[in-house]
């Protein structure tokens, strides 16, 4: 029996949490147990759930593996991650998703829920065997061609319809391909000055609008990955106002950084550490995204943790890989962008980073309230410290964090997965 002493559940008054057999057995004062975790001043949140993680295995084990990526997840306070399908081979069959799922089980740092590809080989031509992946041991419920857009309207319609049979959801990477050929950076003032091919907001917004209409037409469930523009927020708000079954996520980096980072930053202009898909947008977009996350238009934060080896970022901008790591800094960035600004309280953070993503992914044992009977998936977080971001201190196999040079608040002190500590005293167990 483990007892967590004086934890502030969702930022409330200090309470003790008693854990037995992987479940929360009691919450109260002066509780005793065999093992004591002192949590004075720490906030207790339900274990975080990421809907959007690139673990890179199989295929790019030089960038990340299930083992290293889930370590990073645990260090960031996550107890479950969804592993994106754009691996090599692509996670488009029951065999591959089961392999990833099994590797997650073996690693044991957090639950790994593979995302299945919507189309075979992410090629946007034929539906992958979605049902086989749903029925596999991995029990896939989220399907995405992330990295690529399911741009064919008929294929998208069929995918949305088909996954209804097993309560699945299609998570769309909204990027109209023709409008973004060779695109490098948000199309606007900065891209114009830097001479980098523009990535227009409309390329995202047009697909989101279409997909909302398709989802409504076939009565299915749509999830929009990494929403990045104020216009996308407006469309999703409108779709929700119609009662349509549309959910959306925003990444930590789109809540904090703008395209101006490409021009002026602590690491110099044109540093591809800021190159990401979708691109960093403007301050107006950041403001709209924060407000949308606060009012629930955007349901959740998802990291889009995208590890890349050094050589894929130490290049000229156009040659660099797109993506940034984010598991280990997600909660700190959300504190900085949402809590310090008064937009969300800790209950709101728990809702957007655990409860809602678990619900969207249909994860039964995650994102549950911290109360007796719930699985003891718990993140203990110290919001009072501020530390400079140190890429070399991260446990991800890759170092491509965009926050180097920034000082961010907060630190994950402990993570418990069904009562078993995966992180204690800020270190992996």
């Amino acid at each position: 029996m483990i007892v967590i002493r004086n934890a502030r559940i969702l930022g409330g008054e200090p309470r003790d949490i008693l854990i037995a057999n992987g479940l929360i057995s009691e919450i109260g004062a002066g509780l005793g147990g065999d093992t004591v975790i002192e949590a004075d001043g720490l906030i207790a949140l339900p274990g975080l759930v990421d809907l959007h993680t690139h673990l890179r295995e199989p295929g790019r084990e030089d960038a990340e593996t299930v083992e290293t990526g889930t370590r990073a997840a645990a260090m960031g306070g996550f107890t479950a991650v969804h592993a994106m399908a754009n691996t090599s081979p692509v996670a488009d069959t029951a065999g591959v998703v089961e392999q990833v799922w099994r590797r997650g089980q073996e690693a044991g740092h957090c639950d790994v829920h593979p995302v299945g590809a919507v189309t075979s080989g992410l090629e946007g031509k034929h539906l992958a065997e979605l049902g086989a992946m749903a029925d596999s041991q991995a029990r896939v419920r989220v399907f995405s061609d992330d990295g690529k857009c399911v741009s064919d309207a008929v294929l998208m319609r069929r995918a949305l319809e088909y996954v209804k049979a097993f309560d699945g959801v299609v998570a769309q990477h909204a990027q109209e391909p023709r409008l973004t050929e060779g695109a490098q950076l948000n199309e606007g003032e900065v891209s114009g000055r830097l001479g980098l091919t523009g990535w227009p907001a409309v390329a995202e917004e047009a697909i989101i609008a279409r997909d909302c209409l398709l989802a409504a037409h076939v009565g299915s469930r749509l999830h929009v990955c990494h929403v990045s523009t104020a216009g996308s927020v407006e469309i999703i708000r409108w779709a929700k106002s119609k009662g349509w079954n549309v959910t959306a996520e925003v990444t930590p980096h789109h809540l904090l950084l703008t395209d101006s980072c490409a021009e002026a930053s602590p690491v110099g202009p044109y540093n591809p550490i800021y190159k990401v898909n979708p691109p960093l947008r403007t301050q107006e977009d950041v403001t709209a995204l924060r407000e949308a996350l606060a009012d629930g238009t955007i349901d959740c934060v998802a990291t889009d943790h995208a590890p890349h080896p050094v050589e894929d970022k130490e290049t000229e901008w156009a040659a660099a890989a797109m993506g940034m790591i984010g598991l280990e800094t997600a909660l700190s960035v959300v504190q900085e962008a949402m809590v310090e600004t008064g937009l969300l309280d800790w209950a709101g953070v728990a809702d957007r980073m655990s409860v809602r993503p678990a619900r969207i992914g249909r994860l039964a044992g995650q994102g549950l309230p911290l109360e007796p009977g719930s699985p003891a998936n718990i993140t203990l977080y110290d919001p009072a410290v501020r530390t400079p971001v140190d890429p070399t201190a991260m446990v991800s196999r890759s170092r491509n964090t965009p926050y180097e040079g920034l000082t961010l608040p907060g630190r994950v002190v402990a993570t418990l997965l069904r009562g078993r500590p995966t992180v204690l005293d800020g270190k992996l167990v």
Partner: protein, 304 residues
């Protein structure tokens, strides 16, 4: 000045210093012996990832006239074509002790990245669709030489602004130097936020020409047509080409410029290009002197 990467980095005083220095150096070019010992013992590397014989030989001539050792490194047939990264190329040059690296690269921002990896000065000889600062300097030099001033000069830059590094550098430099720039292009060939640039914008060449002191025509690449930036070469030429009729609308002292290479018959007609009011040939000569001035000011100091 450590590097010359963006025309926007130059203050008015720095830009004028380069132009004034170039003017002094121009006198050397008129001598029978054109060489100065100024950069003796210094090494200048021409690192060209794109084919550009004109710009490369201009930098080469500039460095040689100042007695620098010149190493030409072109990407074709070198380790770069075997997949060597820009960083590794930079470290190789660094190990050879380059005092200045002149870089031409197809990727915008490549000179900024290079500057992280070499100790020497970096001169941007054109990066992607970003900038080409020595072209802007030689253009400003040519304007001042012909018209005697830059302050208040009305300059029309016509053509594919969206993809033009020459246009970007010229807008930045000329606005620093007090000239009034108007960009003229079909809307498809202008960046979306061009209204925030320090210049005017027009879609109508005929309306702009009568007021212009300088008309700078940019090369328009035919592959833009295939990407639907304009319907056909003929239509482009009719609406935005500088032909004899349009040329007649210019006032008597106005000059015509082109950074080259030209598409005669597309953005500029042959008779305009060859007219006495065209500066196209002297731009080439001025390129050498302006680049001499830039090299001299960047690596000619005692502490190098």
């Amino acid at each position: 000045m450590k590097h010359l990467i963006s025309a926007g980095d130059l203050s008015r005083d720095e830009a004028l210093l380069i132009l004034d220095t170039a003017e002094e150096l121009a006198r050397v070019s008129e001598r029978s012996i054109k060489k100065l010992p100024t950069l003796r013992g210094r090494t200048v590397v021409n690192l060209f990832f794109e084919d550009s014989t004109r710009t490369r030989i201009s930098f080469e001539a500039a460095a040689k006239r100042l007695s620098a050792d010149v190493i030409n490194f072109s990407a074709k047939g070198s380790s770069v074509s075997k997949g060597e990264s820009l960083k590794d190329t930079a470290l190789t040059l660094e190990a050879m002790g380059a005092d200045a690296v002149v870089i031409r690269h197809g990727a915008s921002g490549a000179p900024h990245r290079l500057a992280n990896w070499v100790r020497g000065s970096v001169l941007n000889a054109g990066d992607g669709t970003h900038e080409h600062p020595t072209q802007a300097l030689l253009d400003a030099f040519s304007m001042r030489q012909r018209l005697g001033r830059l302050d208040g000069l009305k300059v029309a830059i016509v053509g594919d602004i969206l993809h033009s590094r020459v246009a970007r550098s010229n807008v930045l430099l000329l606005s620093t130097l007090g000239a009034e720039v108007t960009l003229v292009a079909p809307p498809t060939l202008l960046p979306v936020s061009v209204e925030r640039w320090p210049c005017q914008v027009s879609y109508d060449l005929d309306a702009v020409l009568p007021k212009a002191d300088v008309v700078m025509m940019l090369r328009v690449q035919l592959e833009r047509m295939n990407a639907a930036y304009f319907p056909s070469a003929r239509e482009y030429s009719r609406r935005y080409g500088l032909d004899r009729d349009r040329f007649a609308k210019l006032h008597d002292d106005a000059i015509v410029m082109h950074p080259g290479p030209m598409n005669r018959g597309m953005e500029i007609s042959a008779e305009v290009a060859d007219s006495p009011r065209s500066t196209i040939v002297e731009q080439v000569g001025n390129g050498v002197t302006v680049r001499m001035a830039a090299l001299y000011l960047l690596i000619g100091g005692e502490n190098q």
